[in-house]
Symmetry: C2
Subunit: 247 residues, 2 copies
DNA sequence: TAGTGGTCTAGACCACTGA
DNA sequence: CAGTGGTCTAGACCACTAA
């Protein structure tokens, strides 16, 4: 076997301060230091590590990128709970998926309206632009922590009299509702996953600073007859999930 | 239809400086300002926007998180090319996938060795810890830009006399090599996708600062007989791909 | 060697959270 | 209200890239 060693240059500097702070924090976390999962204040930590808040923050941000820590806006830094295993090919049932992993789900309805499809939505659902759709915005939590902001767009043509459903029904599983009232089961699915910076609205809902990194998942769902019936635009807290797929 | 409006609080402040710089940069980029895709220096930009480098950098970092810009370490900021559509269920053929999207692929072999499986690798391949595996590290580029650092681990038991292959063979498609010399085709696949901060080595290879956000993809591949034959640990430049799946 | 980003200092004020 | 993170200033030195 030919050795193709040393093509990668050696490290350029000993160890950056940020790197060693990061390591120290990881060690502290591994020891389970913060009882309630909450870290000491940034100012306190920066003092402890004899550095600036900016530098300390850099280390925290990297741990956030790694999914080890997360923030709640102006509340503080917390140790991230284990990631939810999320299989986007298993449709519907956010609630069931969460419960199966011994966690407690919660869904909150934020907004619902009947509107005309934007060009993007029309393309996804394969309908005419301006065709009527229902838009539903929801926030979903795991163990009391907001992890997902989602906009559902339903092709109105597939869901006559959808207006009749109240807040309560729309805070529960849509999958269930489809089956019960429309005899619709999910069929094929298409989806895309991209890292993205959080726009204003999802950021507010997830209690995160706008522009923070997140995972954006866009799904289009067909029913058992192959019609594209709805699509979901999902913004996940980046540390909250691990996408797991078998094929 | 019940109106569940205004549950989301109004914006807390007018517009942050970072947000407006971000918008201004986006507008400039949309106009195609940087000829070669390269942005002016940070110091120059911070002067142009009458702000500090730190603040300016914050805006750049958010655009990076969004996949609009990317960095090369100590070289500068660049406008990100379109994302590669990456379907992890279509195995092998990085090269073909890239060419089909009218881009130019390149693979560089970094390192190859025969070693004992670590506990993680052993678990993935369903073999005994310390069982022999081949490890291959490669860097892959699109249109001359490094986008992927990957470690392949091959179950040695499935690939007798693998040592005979030289650098050249290992810089090409493994899929091809499997088929040609071992009569092995890919079968099932399992994979996981998580956002992650770049460790030292992949960062160096991708010419990015360590700790930068990236997309981590871990895949385990079976052959036509259902044996787990190899696994890939992939670190992608976060802006380089859009994961697209149909099921 | 000049110019770049990477890292770091030592502060400051503000908007918001929670008691 | 005190305390938190969010944002911002005005510098500095270093390691590296590219010419």
């Amino acid at each position: 076997m030919t050795a193709v060693q040393n093509r990668i240059a050696a490290p350029r500097q000993a160890v950056s301060q940020v790197a060693s702070i990061r390591r120290a924090l990881l060690a502290q976390i591994a020891q389970g230091l913060p009882e309630d999962g909450r870290l000491p204040a940034e100012r306190q930590l920066s003092e402890q590590f004899a550095t600036t808040r900016i530098t300390l923050r850099e280390a925290l941000l990297q741990l956030e990128a790694d999914g080890v820590l997360y923030r709640e806006e102006r509340r503080g830094w917390f140790v991230a709970p284990p990631r939810l295993h999320y299989d986007p090919t298993a449709r519907g049932y956010f609630e069931r998926m969460v419960r199966e992993q011994s966690r407690i789900p919660h869904t909150r309805l934020l907004h619902v309206e009947s509107m005309a499809a934007t060009p993007t939505i029309a393309a996804l659902l394969d309908i005419e632009p301006l065709a009527p759709v229902y838009m539903i915005r929801r926030a979903r939590s795991i163990d009391g922590r907001r992890v997902l902001f989602v906009e559902h767009y339903l092709n109105s043509a597939c869901f006559p009299h959808f207006e009749r459903f109240g807040d309560k029904a729309l805070s529960r599983s849509l999958t269930e509702l489809y089956r019960r009232y429309y005899d619709i089961e999910y069929g094929r699915v298409r989806f895309e996953i991209t890292p993205a910076a959080l726009p204003e609205l999802p950021a507010r809902v997830l209690k995160v600073a706008a522009g923070s990194p997140a995972l954006y998942v866009q799904r289009v769902n067909a029913d058992q007859h192959g019609r594209w019936i709805d699509c979901d635009l999902e913004y996940w807290r980046q540390d909250a999930i691990k996408v797991c797929i078998e094929a």
